[in-house]
């Protein structure tokens, strides 16, 4: 256990020091994408992997987070809240605002969506994300419609301007570490065990005294909040959002892939998945140009066929089996 802790501490130190040595902007960009992938992988995994509620519409939360952040920074009345604290429109407050908006939406949709289960739940979430897209396209007074929202000013956190890859690297690194820690804390508490019980058998969980509906809504809120953080960061990083960028099915699917390839229902799964998929998709892009999606898709099919427990799940199984063999050998000798 302690060894595990020291590995984690070491990795965090390495990640903190990394930008001092990496001056290659593209490489930093890759790290940023990986960390972003970890956040939305964790987000999807909390609801899909740990609670067993498979969503095809997490882009909805990503999108609301992105738009909430953009609105906070660009609307006069909202950004004043930031000014009170900071003399400037504060991007951290903006992201939190996006997250709160998302929680509000999940609160409203929670009781309806959890009347559905299994594939119907999946389709329900898909439909909700499509509704989000339609609203973003048409509610021009708020979202500026299809033209999207452009951030004109460079946001800064206190005296630190969010300019250049290094500053974004640190912002997303912190958000990612907080996300992983948050999910870890949920899963080792009462709530985590209740979520697992719900995933395994909803009726049994109820009979064991678990208020399943309440916990499903809580899981949805927590999960959606994390997706909103990712969306908020996306707004800051790219500086421009439009409905089709952030409410797209592609975003929803990406979250699922990261989790499945890495390992569903494990804390490390989305981390492994984000690293593997981000690196591979960039490599494939440079080798295969536009055909990269085909190679990427084939790879996914192979993983799902031959490692249904994901890369991390597969390695863990191999590792445990080896440990067992070695323990047996110890006993024998």
């Amino acid at each position: 256990m302690n060894r595990q802790k020291s590995y984690i501490a070491l990795s965090i130190v390495v990640l903190l020091l990394l930008p001092l040595f990496i001056k290659n902007q593209f490489l930093l960009h890759m790290f940023i994408l990986i960390f972003l992938g970890v956040i939305y992988g964790q987000s999807w995994n909390l609801l899909g992997g740990f609670t067993g509620q498979i969503s095809f519409g997490h882009a909805l939360f990503f999108g609301i987070g992105a738009y909430g952040t953009a609105k906070f920074l660009t609307s006069d009345s909202l950004s004043k809240i930031g000014v009170i604290f900071n003399h400037q429109a504060d991007p951290i407050l903006a992201i939190i605002f996006g997250g709160l908006m998302t929680i509000l939406v999940t609160f409203l949709m929670g009781t309806i969506i959890f009347r559905l289960s299994g594939p119907y739940f999946g389709l329900g979430t898909l439909a909700m994300a499509e509704i989000g897209l339609v609203i973003a396209m048409n509610l021009k007074s708020v979202t500026n419609g299809g033209e999207g929202i452009l951030l004109l000013d460079t946001p800064s956190i206190g005296p630190f301007e969010l300019m250049g890859k290094t500053s974004f690297y640190y912002l997303i690194l912190v958000l990612m570490l907080l996300t992983v820690f948050f999910v870890y804390q949920i899963m080792r508490r009462k709530m985590g065990y209740f979520l697992l019980a719900i995933r395994e058998d909803n009726q049994a969980a109820e009979a064991m005294g678990v208020p399943t509906k309440r916990y499903k809504i809580l899981a949805l809120m927590a999960s959606a909040f994390l997706s909103a953080l990712a969306g908020g960061f996306y707004t800051l990083y790219v500086g421009f959002i439009s409905p089709h960028d952030v409410f797209s099915v592609h975003t929803s699917v990406e979250m699922i892939f990261i989790t499945i390839v890495g390992g569903v229902g494990t804390l490390m799964g989305p981390v492994v998945g984000a690293v593997v998929l981000t690196v591979l998709s960039e490599v494939f892009k440079s080798y295969f140009d536009n055909a990269y999606l085909i190679v990427y898709g084939l790879l996914l099919i192979l993983v799902i066929l031959y490692m249904p427990e994901g890369i991390y799940g597969y390695l863990k199984k191999k590792w445990n089996a080896r440990k067992k063999v070695m323990a047996d050998a110890d006993v024998a000798s």
Partner: protein, 242 residues
């Protein structure tokens, strides 16, 4: 006043009346047997008492309070636990975690739930299985896990739905012993069981359902001689032959 009182309980599924105006009561400290041919409505009665389904009509009172219409987790909080005829283990979790989670909703934290789980696991004699995945258990052990999990919610009333279904002779004897031990520890039990010999051994009283209606009630002795009960079961055999 009886601990549990069921009055005119009725459940319809579309056109089918699965349970029709059934009334019975359970006294504190007793073991009540609930029997009847397949499809008699026994499990449906449990489902309504445990809050898995709402009754179409009728009332259920537990310790003087109306509980019909409450949700299953609320019933669990009131002190009623049930097992499932078709077992529902949390397959990807260990036996210990299965029992621990059942204890969690009544515990202030995980360590307290662990203590309760350990006690229940010792009480039910499944400590050898504690670390195993629940998905790997034999049917006999799955039935014991069902009972252990129900006990871990610290109920005063326990509803057991065919806890001996699929067990071999030796396992049935162990199950009988366990049920008597549970009853001795102060818990009231309602048990559905098809194995008559076992049921006669554990029950203080028996209620008989057939085709959704209560057809008899009495001591095991009286029930085994009851005309209506014999006809109901013979009728079932005739059906099976035709």
């Amino acid at each position: 006043m009886p601990m549990l009182q069921v009055k005119d309980l009725t459940k319809q599924f579309g056109g089918l009346t699965a349970v029709s105006k059934v009334s019975f009561s359970v006294n504190e400290g007793e073991v009540l047997g609930l029997i009847g041919p397949n499809g008699a409505g026994k499990t449906t009665c449990f489902n309504m008492i445990a809050g898995a389904m709402n009754p179409t009509k009728g009332q259920i009172e537990f310790e003087g309070q109306r509980i019909d219409g409450l949700q299953a987790h609320q019933i669990s909080q009131k002190g009623i636990a049930r097992t499932f005829q078709i077992v529902k283990p949390l397959r990807n979790l260990s036996v210990f975690d299965n029992v621990m989670i059942a204890a969690l909703s009544k515990s202030k934290d995980i360590s307290q739930a662990r203590e309760i789980a350990q006690e229940v696991i010792d009480f039910t004699g499944i400590h050898d299985l504690a670390k195993k995945g629940a998905g790997e258990l034999s049917i006999g052990n799955l039935k014991r896990l069902e009972v252990a999990r129900a006990l871990a919610t610290l109920p005063r009333l326990l509803l057991l739905d065919e806890p001996m279904g699929g067990l071999n002779g030796k396992e049935v004897d162990q199950a009988i012993e366990l049920i008597l031990k549970i009853n001795k520890s102060g818990k009231t039990v309602v048990i559905i069981e098809h194995i008559m010999k076992a049921l006669m051994q554990v029950s203080d009283r028996i209620v008989v359902l057939a085709q959704g209606e209560k057809i008899a009630e009495g001591t095991p002795e009286a029930i085994s001689k009851n005309e209506a009960v014999i006809t109901a079961y013979l009728g079932e055999e005739y059906h099976a032959q035709s």
